[in-house]
Amino acid sequence: MINKRLSRYTGIRNAGINPKGFHVSQIKFYVILTPLSALMLLPIIYIFSSAFKPPDELFAFPPRFFVVNPTTQNFTDLFSKLSTSGIPISRYLFNSILITVITVAASIMVSSAAAYSLSKKRFKLKKMLFAINNVALMFVPIAVTIPRFLVIVELNLLNTFWVHILPVLAMPVGLFLLKQFIDGIPDEVIEAAQIDGASDWWIYWRIILPMIRPALATIAILTFQSAWSNAEISTLYINEESLRTLAFYLTTLTPANATAVNTVAGQGIAAAAALIMFLPNLIMFIILQGQVMSTMSHSGLK
């Protein structure tokens, strides 16, 4: 019954915007978007082609974007260096994957529950709490580096697995975004469910979450990216090698300032490592952004 009412709200996105196929009127958009995209693609092209550049091309003067004689030497170097390290690479990889998975899932749950409460519940402090969240979002992160470090020391979180996860779970941006999307769900949907006897948890799990899938996917993209490529936590809060992440390990392979130092082998390895770190981001974006689109295109069919 609830589902029936729901479909009235979710089942009407189709046609017009978000077309099914090609139309002549779309040509103008392609004309504008294609040259812009060519410009935006530069860093990706650069990352891919650098990873396959032999040393003489990496240091070529003038520098080139495209690789002329592609080689997999950089990857061979990278893997031979990995096999000589004290701790097996799989350990770092395992840490990174576990941390990323837990962070993304937990962060989404925690933020969306809070967002539901701040958007649809009625309580006195609601507006104030939301305002506090947004002020926190506006405070420059670097100014809180030292106080946050002290908090983590006080909580005895240094050198633990959880220091990778707990401090980053509450993400003000995520809460803000999710709350904005939940605001867009008509109150009637929730009232109808309440009349039908649905519990709070049921409403949250079966109505709110499915209806904000695009927002969830968007936040997942953001969280994944920051969790996967986070080397900072390993640097600041972890001394034990076996608790560090892949992102951190790959930064240690090359001198701290990879752009300035002229270590030939280091540059090649750094380029290969950059590609390896970047690929998961790319893949996750494609999968998750597909989620944003598919909610819309499928719901119209029913």
Binding site: I12, Y30, S117, N134, A143, R148, L177, F181, S199
Partner: protein, 323 residues
């Protein structure tokens, strides 16, 4: 399952509403009225207080102290703020004007660009849309190092830099320009590069927002005689996605005021050449992590927060929902 829930609900209603005027009664009433709201809020709230509120508040308190990270901070009242406003020549002469100039162009510019591109993407079928979305978002995804290298190659200061060799080939330039080291060009280049990478989370949110709008609204508008796409944008698209528009606006305000890495990465130094690309965040870093005057750095970041808050209020006025 449904009936079970209904029963439980009736059971709950049957229980007498606590009316005692004791503390316990008050608490019980509060629990029934607002308990579930706080239950949903509490996991986030707890983490938020520990890892965000406490550090931000301590940074705020630090702004009233002198703190060199070695000795414990000692209270000096408003002195940091006073010297920021009266004695910090660099701040008044370069940092503040730079930040405002940067923010005024990049903020609205990047925001408009993100919205227009999101809108255009929404007019395309799914596959090309995903591909374009990926490409447009990619500058926000690639690490800043890769980005800096790309732009450094383009703007390289000698005749082999792409831009220099192009302009010299065209006969427009006689000798190469030190693009990234000259105070004159650094700021415009920073603005271009930031605009180029401004399709971030706000852009994705707006794209999802546009796709979310019910097509019935557009159909109804067409029946009512709305003919141009511009009318459609201003009377249907934007009003129907106010929450996402507000989110995008706040994110671009926060993003532009918190930008700082860009000038330093491009020019390769903090402070940037003749302070040409010095933004407030660089100033915070300069004092906090190069001179170790954390108290002063905290004061600068509080001033930055106030600026961001002011502009966010403006955005709030524009997009606040009526409810």
């Amino acid at each position: 399952m449904q009936t079970k829930q209904t029963l439980a609900r009736e059971e709950a209603i049957k229980q007498p509403y606590p009316t005692e005027r004791t503390l316990a009664g008050f608490f019980q009433r509060w629990l029934i009225k607002e308990g579930s709201a706080y239950a949903f809020l509490s996991p986030y709230g707890l983490l938020f207080i520990i890892f965000i509120v406490v550090p931000v508040l301590s940074a705020f308190l630090l702004s009233f102290t002198f703190f060199d990270t070695i000795q414990p901070p000692h209270f000096i009242g408003l002195n940091n703020y006073i010297s920021l406003l009266t004695q910090d020549d660099t701040f008044m002469k370069y940092v503040l004007p730079n930040t405002i100039q940067f923010a005024v162009i990049v903020g609205p510019g990047g925001y408009a660009l993100a919205f227009m591109l999101a809108w255009m993407l929404a007019q395309l079928p799914r596959l090309p849309r995903t591909i374009f979305a990926l490409i447009l978002y990619s500058p926000s995804m690639t690490a800043s190092v890769a980005m800096a290298v790309v732009w450094k190659t383009l703007f390289s200061g000698d005749q082999t830099g792409y831009l220099n060799s192009f302009l010299m080939g065209m006969g427009l330039l006689r000798e190469p320009i030190q693009w990234l080291q000259s105070p004159q060009y650094l700021m415009p280049i920073m603005i271009v590069v930031t605009l180029w990478s401004s399709m971030g989370i706000g852009f994705l949110a707006m794209l999802a927002g546009i796709l979310e709008i019910s097509p019935e609204l557009y159909e109804a508008a067409t029946i009512d005689g709305m003919s141009s796409r511009w009318q459609e944008i201003f009377y249907i698209t934007i009003p129907s996605m106010r929450p996402q528009m507000l989110f995008g606006a706040v994110m671009s305000i926060v993003g532009t005021f918190q930008a700082g890495a860009i000038g330093v990465t491009l020019s390769g130094s903090n402070p940037t050449p003749q302070y040409a690309g010095q933004l407030i965040v660089n100033h915070v870093e300069d004092y906090g992590f190069l001179r170790y005057e954390m108290g002063y750095a905290a004061a600068v970041s509080v001033v930055l927060l106030l600026m961001v808050l002011f502009f966010t209020r403006v955005a709030n006025r524009l997009f606040a929902s009526d409810t």
